[in-house]
């Protein structure tokens, strides 16, 4: 270390413990814990029974899988409104294949391949076309919905019951185990890719500042397509799980998933415009929070109106606390 470079040792003014950032980092976790505690009390303990916990894994998994994958896409600054429709498409086509062949493995392949193909298309579009991306995804979502209607034809709903050879029904415990394994596995995979490979840093930079990211020499097209592929994995897994658990797919499958994912991400502390504050935990924390919230409210047996008011209030409260870090002023130099 060359001594001549070290001149301004006295200059320690730029250090500062940013309390607001700490609050905003912890608030999603606090929100989740608070929700669990509050609803455990309000439902008289019914929230955390073994059987309801098993149900909760069923209820959380679709949103969680899609949300965790979506972190990558929102992270690079792309607003994707086609996720729900894509899950529906994957489930429906997978369902058709399952009924026609009776083979669960083929169904799985189809459930995965369709979102992956869509992901590549989205990645190419995001890299080369100048149209604002979220408009593209809105249109894509509509097109996919229409397509699903067309291929369903006269039958609005497909029942796995009607498969050529019977497809195994998974009982409650089996399903819970599958849920936990798939969710855990996917989460760990995404976490690993984000934090232990260059992908995470590149996603954050790209979402934070396009020009700066370009000047670091990263291959922007490759990163975008990779992000969409990871998201597609989540979508495919979600589509497959719906298929084997609910055993009923149709036009209305995953109709609320698109919205749920967005709410989950916000509740989980993910900045919707992406950038360096992106974190994978947002997907799973947010999905868990929504699920606890919805389940708790339903078990309490409130009327629809009251449930919606409560949801709105909780949402506002969490967003308020999470927005703290955006309000700090910068030290003047």
């Amino acid at each position: 270390m060359d001594k001549s470079i070290v001149i301004d040792e006295t200059n320690s003014k730029s250090s500062k413990i940013n309390y607001s950032t700490i609050i905003s980092k912890l608030s999603p976790y606090a929100g989740l814990v608070l929700s669990i505690v509050v609803f455990q009390i309000l439902t008289g303990g019914k929230l955390l029974t073994i059987s309801n916990l098993q149900s909760l894994t069923n209820q959380v998994i679709i949103t969680a899988l899609v949300a965790i994958g979506a972190v990558y896409v929102f992270g690079i600054g792309c607003f994707d409104m086609s996720l729900g429709s894509l899950v529906c498409l994957g489930s429906v086509v997978g369902g058709m294949v399952a009924i026609a062949t009776g083979n669960i493995f083929f169904a799985f392949l189809v459930c995965m391949i369709i979102p992956i193909a869509a992901g590549i298309i989205k990645g190419i579009f995001a890299s080369y076309v100048e149209v604002p991306f979220f408009i593209f995804t809105i249109v894509l979502g509509m097109v996919i919905n229409a397509f699903v209607l067309v291929i369903l034809g006269k039958e609005t709903t497909l029942y796995l019951e009607n498969a050529v050879t019977p497809i195994k029904t998974f009982n409650f415990t089996e399903m819970t185990v599958i849920n936990v394994l798939v969710l855990g596995g996917f989460y760990l995979l995404c976490l690993f890719l984000f934090n232990y490979t260059g992908l995470g840093i590149r996603v954050k930079m790209l979402g934070g500042n396009y020009d700066a990211a370009k000047q670091t020499g990263m291959n922007i097209t490759k990163i975008k397509i990779t992000a969409f592929l990871v998201s597609a994995l989540g979508v495919g897994l979600a589509a497959f799980l719906i298929l084997i658990r609910v055993r009923t797919v149709g036009y209305s499958t995953a109709v609320s998933t698109g919205n749920d994912v967005m709410v989950a991400l916000v509740l989980g502390g993910m900045p919707i415009s992406g950038g360096p504050r992106t974190k994978i935990s947002a997907g799973i924390i947010g999905a868990a929070t929504i699920t606890v919230l919805n389940s708790g409210l339903a078990i309490m047996g409130l009327s629809t109106g009251t449930i919606q008011i409560c949801r709105g209030i909780v949402f506002l409260a969490v967003v308020l606390v999470a927005s703290f870090s955006y309000r700090t002023k910068m030290l003047p130099r």
């Binding site: 270390m1 060359d2 001549s4 470079i5 070290v6 001149i7 301004d8 040792e9 006295t10 200059n11 320690s12 003014k13 730029s14 250090s15 500062k16 413990i17 940013n18 309390y19 950032t21 232990y196 490979t197 260059g198 840093i201 590149r202 954050k204 930079m205 934070g208 500042n209 020009d211 700066a212 990211a213 370009k214 000047q215 670091t216 020499g217 990263m218 291959n219 950038g275 360096p276 504050r277 002023k329 910068m330 030290l331 003047p332 130099r333």
Partner: protein
């Protein structure tokens, strides 16, 4: 001739959490004077003026303006009392016209019956612009059609239009062209003649010594001394700023300008997409520090970008001689061990909302990832900490957001990003802009050290002293063409260069 006090701060103190930015400072500004404020980054000079302007409240202490107690709760209040402030950062709003920017927030002056009269606004805007000497601009133009400096001049017109009694110029001149600086100096002189006050904050010692009547030096939040015009000597000021003798040379100590005959980059007859460079050719030699200077829109910044593959080249090509490959994208440049420090630090060189760690890593992922693409935390920490230590980046932790750092530290992060890669060819565009003396010196020595290690440095700058002080070879560009070339020598001075520049 007794001087009248216009602004006084008594025992002014400001804490940011545990950090003490101002420590019981007694600061006086007199009418009919240009008062200079200088200090290193973090010395507190910007803090005083921002408190006076109403940007933030003081922790302790009082202020008096025009004899009245002064405690503005917002910038608008501060402006109303008669303090106008021009800052370093961009203050114009994209998407609006020049006139709309000048009267942002005051559109009601031109509103009758709910409709805003654009022609009236434009006329008033033209008057405002003419008043500061910025002619030749049509106020109905979109602000985006102006370059950064001109946009800054629009801001200045806005501030002057409100006829402030005390004008604060906070580190603005460093980003301005000669025309812009002249405009500001004229404004300051005029305010002095009108018996108003000016507080001038800058890093440029020479500029301060030339224009100010008194110079106040701050260090670590304390007011060290106030010098009168006749006491202003460069060595004295530096000593007060830093607190000890500055040992060693500021720039390089040698005058050896020998150039290795081996060429590493060949820029062959390029014409850029912006049209600023036309049929421009240049050969860059191994291990040289090549200085590139000129007026701000001569095309030298585009040249830097073009060499790095970030600027569209319509005709001609940039060739990396050692490998024989053409450079057309940033990715290719990186693969050929090139690096680029952009002039536009906040917008292009850094992701402000990201951490120091992520910024430093962002250009060096291929250097720390193993064969499978996996980054082991140990390697990551080592890579980042090496840069933080070697460059003495002052921060609470590497997870801290870059936007909270001072200008000098930010620039160090940018350097760290590229040095970590151990680039063979480094293109620097205005590397010491907005950076205080201590950090500047460190950077010059770093650049020289890199040269000694055999690396090639291309240094584009608008500051002639540093170009003269550092370059082996200095070329001047005028209107997109090569206009002069100078070898390193003791007798080289600014006048010789300015002849060729203008």
């Amino acid at each position: 001739m007794s001087k009248e006090l216009i602004f006084e701060a008594r025992q002014l103190t400001k804490h940011f959490g545990p950090t003490v930015a101002l420590n019981k400072v007694d600061f006086k500004v007199y009418k009919g004077q240009i008062t200079g404020l200088i200090g290193e980054n973090g010395s507190g000079k910007s803090t005083i003026t921002s408190i006076a302007a109403g940007m933030q409240p003081a922790t302790e202490g009082e202020m008096f303006f025009q004899g009245q107690s002064h405690k503005p709760s917002s910038m608008i209040e501060g402006a109303k009392t008669g303090i106008g402030m021009i800052v370093q950062e961009q203050g114009t709003v994209s998407g609006l016209t020049v006139a709309q920017n000048i009267f942002l927030g005051e559109e009601n002056k031109f509103r009758t019956m709910g409709i805003i009269h654009a022609s009236k606004m434009n006329k008033a805007a033209k008057e405002a612009l003419d008043a500061i000497g910025f002619t030749g601009v049509d106020p109905s133009r979109s602000i985006d059609s102006l370059n950064m400096q001109d946009r800054k001049l629009v801001e200045i017109a806005k501030v002057i239009y409100n006829k402030p009694d005390m004008l604060v110029v906070d580190e603005t001149t460093t980003a301005l062209s000669q025309q812009g600086r002249t405009i500001i100096y004229d404004i300051m002189k005029r305010m002095r003649e009108e018996n108003k006050a000016v507080v001038f904050i800058s890093h440029d010692l020479q500029e301060l010594m030339d224009t100010c009547d008194t110079l106040t030096v701050l260090r670590d939040g304390n007011l060290i001394t106030t010098l009168e015009k006749d006491q202003m000597k460069e060595e004295t000021i530096k000593k007060h700023m830093v607190g000890r003798e500055m040992k060693g040379d500021y720039y390089r100590s040698d005058y050896d300008g020998t150039i290795d005959p081996q060429v590493v980059l060949d820029i062959d007859n390029i014409t850029t997409g912006t049209g600023l460079l036309k049929n421009f050719s240049l050969k860059v030699h191994k291990g040289e520090i090549l200085g590139i200077g000129g007026l701000s829109d001569c095309g030298m910044h585009e040249l830097g970008k073009a060499i790095f593959g970030e600027e569209k080249i319509l005709r001609g090509k940039v060739t990396h001689i050692t490998s024989g490959d053409q450079i057309t994208t940033a990715r290719e440049a990186l693969d050929h061990s090139m690096g680029y420090v952009s002039k536009n630090r906040d917008k292009e060189a850094l992701v402000l909302t990201a951490s120091i760690q992520d910024n430093i890593l962002s250009a060096g992922i291929d250097k720390i990832a193993n064969k499978l693409g996996v980054i082991i935390p140990k390697n990551r920490k080592a890579y980042v900490n090496k840069q933080v230590q070697e460059l003495s980046i002052k921060c609470a932790s590497v997870e801290q957001n870059v936007q909270y750092l001072s200008g000098g530290n930010k620039q160090k992060v940018v350097f760290g990003k590229w040095i970590g890669r151990d680039c063979d060819i480094l293109i620097l565009d205005c590397p010491t802009r907005g950076v205080d003396i201590g950090v500047k010196a460190a950077m010059y020595q770093l650049i020289y050290r890199m040269k000694q290690q055999g690396k090639t440095i291309i240094m584009i700058s608008e500051e002639l002293p540093e170009l003269i002080g550092m370059s082996d070879r200095l070329i001047i560009i005028k209107n997109g063409q090569l206009s002069g070339e100078f070898a390193r020598s003791e007798v080289l001075n600014e006048n010789m260069i300015i002849d060729v520049m203008i």
